[in-house]
């Protein structure tokens, strides 16, 4: 099994030296079973130690190695070189500021994630001694797919609405809000609504669906957002018709 020589065109940017990014090409002899991350590691080890990038698990669970590979957002550890032609262009995730080479600044996402309160807001919080919250398989199946998010940000890279307006809360954060809103143990939906149901929340989404297409964990954030739109629309009209309902919602008893 001989190695195939692949030309990697990698975006380079040194904030101390460069005004704008440039591309640098490396010839890499790739083993048949390599992923793009293996080639990038080879470049760093053998060809150019100045190349900066993020990676960790090498098995598509940590979400660190998100990049744009031949125009498509992908996890570098999940993109098999054999599926690509002899020229592979690697860029940092779109729609985030480039710190250096393939490293982007993800502070905007972290802030948005925090703002949707991605933790269990239980009605009657239990201590460990009081035992576990009970949940049936059926209840789990409603939100399980949304728990799979690894915060890799491929969805933000693919989302044109985030590209056009970075105030948009974005697919992953909204999918994670949905994950908790749909969790039978959680009553925090109204606590999250001010962010979720705001103009830069779900309403900035125009259902392009690119996020779900590029998600490596099949979270389907687009579906989460559309479901949230329907629920929020129902809420809006019910709150209008029954204004007292809002008070009930705040103590968490009025859940989906």
């Amino acid at each position: 099994m001989s190695d195939r020589v692949v030309e990697f065109e990698i975006l380079r940017y040194d904030p101390d030296q460069d005004e704008t990014p440039r591309f640098q090409t490396y010839s890499v002899p790739c083993h048949e079973d390599w992923v793009v991350l293996d080639a990038i590691n080879y470049i760093k080890d053998e060809l150019d130690r100045t190349l900066s990038y993020r990676w960790s698990c090498h098995m598509a669970v940590c979400g660190s190695c998100g990049m744009v590979i031949n125009g498509e957002p992908a996890l570098a550890c999940h993109a098999f070189v054999r599926d690509y032609p002899d020229q592979i262009r690697v860029e940092p995730l779109h729609n985030f500021p480039v710190e250096r080479d393939l490293v982007v600044n993800m502070d905007d996402f972290i802030g948005k994630l925090t703002s949707v309160k991605p933790w269990l807001i239980a009605k009657d919080p239990k201590t460990i001694d009081e035992g576990a919250y009970l949940q049936s398989k059926a209840e789990l199946s409603i939100f399980k797919q949304y728990t799979a998010c690894i915060n890799c940000l491929l969805c933000y890279s693919a989302c044109p609405q985030y590209a056009l307006n970075d105030a948009f809360v974005g697919p992953a954060a909204l999918a994670l809000a949905h994950r908790y809103n749909q969790d039978s143990r959680d009553v925090g939906r109204s606590a999250r609504q001010d962010v979720v149901a705001s103009n830069p929340g779900i309403w900035e989404c125009s259902f392009v669906g690119a996020c779900s297409e590029v998600c490596p964990k099949s979270v389907d954030p687009a579906a989460a957002i559309q479901q949230a739109k329907i629920a929020s629309t129902g809420d809006y009209f019910l709150d209008f018709l029954m204004p007292w309902r809002n008070k009930a919602a705040d103590d968490g008893s009025n859940d989906q």
Binding site: P160, L164, Q193, D194, V195, A197, S198, N199, P200, G201, W203, S206, K229, I230, S232, T233, D235, Y236, F237
Partner: protein
């Protein structure tokens, strides 16, 4: 961040989109494409025929509902499309498109009531 008022127009958008998905293709066939494609005689769209078809108030009410919802569906989607094509003045765009939909709705109501 305050809760948005978008649900108002989005509700219309979703209802109109659903109605359009189910009835618009056949509606287009019945209202012009059918004649153009030779599936219907030209007489099907003539004055007397159409007027007799629209005598029943329920027919006109349903037709109002269908056209109203699809009109507002299109207006909202086009507002988003304007944003997608780089036009940033969203409030102006929304006002223009919803005003057109509003005027269209009024004209439609007037026309259908006059057809009694």
């Amino acid at each position: 961040m305050a809760r948005s008022h978008k649900p108002i127009v989005w509700g219309l958008f979703a209802a109109g989109g659903t109605v359009a998905a189910f009835v618009l293709p056949v509606l287009i066939l019945l209202s012009g494409a059918g004649v153009a494609l030779g599936l219907l005689p030209a007489s099907s769209l003539e004055y007397e025929n159409l007027r007799s078809l629209l005598t029943h108030p329920l027919t006109r009410l349903v037709l109002f509902g269908v056209l109203f919802l699809i009109l507002w569906h299109a207006a909202h989607r086009l507002r988003i499309t304007a944003h997608d094509l780089g036009i940033r003045a969203d409030t102006l765009v929304a006002t223009v498109f919803y005003a057109i939909a509003g005027l269209g709705s009024v004209l439609l109501a007037i026309a259908l009531m006059a057809l009694a």
